[in-house]
Subunit: 372 residues, 2 copies
């Protein structure tokens, strides 16, 4: 793990760059807003820890009422449990034999659940649970529109639920019904309709399973783009939003009912970069490129000025064009960038530097960085 | 730092995934090929360590004749010096005050040089060198076509060289003349011509500087795409290729003189992934997505079959389409992926797992992972 880029108590303009910095006031408002919304919507909140990979943040979420967290890998789940979170759902399939062992072992230390979409995998999980002398909660992942992992809704999901329920060391624990593709549909009505279509598929599958005499104790899913919609259906018990604590540029392009940019959450997370060079008056180069931010969902935004554009990233450099803006940055000046996509960006850093106003207040280890 | 995904001596099919795996035979052939070429071309080799971030690999390069390495950040330079490399050129501007101090301090422990493209920055470097009681080698970075950092060739470069030479604790140590944009020009003739145009600009600038009575001891630059061309000019003293040891999919799309894919180097580096799900006969999902590989320069290739395509990455998942291939992968099967772009991919891992034939032989820490 690299040294932290700051010390507690220093002014933010002394943070070494590039650094991942978190506006604690904005972050805390985001935390509270989704906790309040979940309460209003009548669903449990199980935020996704793949966005922050930081047990300190997970515990803040639990303190505000979250029932636990979601993880995407066994390594993340280990980091969360070691960091004080006692209820983790791995919203993914776990297949490698060593990872299955790690997962089952972890289930002896905390409440751990996992997803499956294949009967052979369920048998592997069962054998490992038996070998460790434990029982494991397994949810059936249903393809509700993302076309990634997951069995098709309906009979195939029922067959897998029955197969899981029949295995002595597994509990059938419900349905994982996350529609990843719906999260970034820009138009409000289309996004809502995709989420409600996911809910319909999940609900019909639950009815089929319960009709066959199995209890289906929860349906879990939803994300930062759709968390308001799935609960409308009355079908979802749990929402899994993750990015809401940070809000990235990509989520910021979603539109609300009136066609304006969504405003549920604030951009609390930035990459703090330093200008290395201003080769000509119209542009500059900063020290934050592909190893400091992820460009898979578009370029980062330059905070505070829509006319100044981050136009291209190479390994360690970002090119910024001042366009028609009156602003220009000289070598040594600091620039705050809103990440294009927060999850893979956070995974590039060992530390989140929390600040309030202009003073560094917290250094939080990204404990699950690189935790496959 | 995460635990390694393997143990020395185990078969490769027991490596935990996703993992960054290195075919040591292919890697060693790549190492030797560029070392031999540099000798034949009559230039020094100073490979770029930003590609591997691994002092073990850097020392292998030095053992085959490299004069030292290039780094892109102070953190990388520290990792290289601590790891046993005693000659490092930072091919970048260093601006943050703390980083300038770290750089100058490092110059008391090893031969360290840095680039500048701004007289104010040169003064900062000089003050720090004076404070630490040392002298620092500074190269003028010249914009030879990349339009990133660097002063324009000619008079502006001369003025900066003179400014550096006039500062008591700096040595003017030559020209950094790297044409990043030329590296991935697919056509052989166009790529060569871009490299030779860079050489012409660097050469003219050197002549101007020497005409003014300053010695310009080296011109350094070139990369894996152009290393054969800059030396033709007779102008370059040193080549800086980095990716040649691994060869990624992007470099693999460059064409040789006859219009075929370049064959100077072999794909030695792969991401080893596991199939998590095969939701339908025509496709599968592997456990290597945006946190396991960089997609900035295109998707990774599925090793061994051009008909099988990695078609999309989300945070922890990769979608593979079997297309018209006869192959199909079931859950638990392993897939080797050629990274689209090696540098930011390596930066996602703590360990490089070296293997020969089917046995794990080496675990090398990526010591400068995340070293800004």
């Amino acid at each position: 793990m690299m040294r932290p880029p700051a010390e507690i108590g220093i002014p933010t303009d002394e943070i070494e760059t590039p650094a991942l910095i978190l506006d604690l006031d904005a972050f805390e408002r985001n935390l509270a807003r989704l906790a309040d919304s979940a309460r209003d919507l009548g669903v449990r909140l199980r935020p996704h820890a793949k966005s922050h990979k930081c047990p300190v943040i997970a515990r803040r979420q639990v303190a505000l009422g979250a029932v636990g967290v979601c993880c995407q890998t066994v390594g993340e789940a280990e980091a969360m449990v070691m960091g004080g979170v006692d209820d983790v759902l791995v919203t993914n399939e776990v297949v490698d034999r060593v990872k299955v062992n790690r997962l089952v072992s972890l289930a002896k230390q905390a409440h751990v659940a996992v997803c499956a979409d294949d009967a052979g995998n369920a048998e592997t999980l069962n054998e490992a649970a038996a070998a460790f002398g434990t029982r494991l909660d397994v949810l059936v992942e249903v393809n509700v529109g993302a076309n990634r992992c997951g069995v098709e809704p309906g009979k195939l999901a029922l067959a897998l639920a029955e197969a899981i329920a029949a295995l002595p060391n597994l509990n059938f624990a419900g349905l994982q019904a996350y529609h990843g593709g719906a999260q970034h549909i820009r138009d409000f009505t289309e996004r809502r309709s995709a989420a409600l279509s996911a809910a319909e598929k999940a609900g019909a599958t639950k009815a089929l399973i319960e009709g066959a005499g199995l209890s289906c104790e929860r349906i879990t899913g939803a994300g930062t783009g759709t968390y308001r919609f799935e609960p409308e259906s009355g079908i979802y018990d749990e929402i899994q939003a993750g990015s809401y604590i940070f809000m990235d540029a990509d989520y910021g392009r979603n539109l609300d009912e009136g066609g304006a940019a969504v405003s549920d959450f604030e951009h609390s997370l930035h990459i703090l970069a330093t200008v290395l060079s201003r080769p000509d008056p119209g542009r500059c180069v900063v020290n934050a490129g592909l190893k400091a931010l992820s460009v898979d969902s578009g370029m980062p935004l330059v905070d505070g000025d829509e006319g100044v554009l981050y136009v291209g990233a190479s390994d360690e450099h970002g090119k910024i064009d001042f366009g028609k803006s009156n602003r220009g940055f000289d070598p040594g000046q600091r620039v705050r960038l809103v990440p294009g996509h927060c999850d893979p960006t956070v995974n590039l850093y060992d530390w989140i530097v929390g600040y309030r106003k202009n003073r560094v207040e917290a250094l939080w280890p990204v404990a699950a960085r690189g935790a496959f």
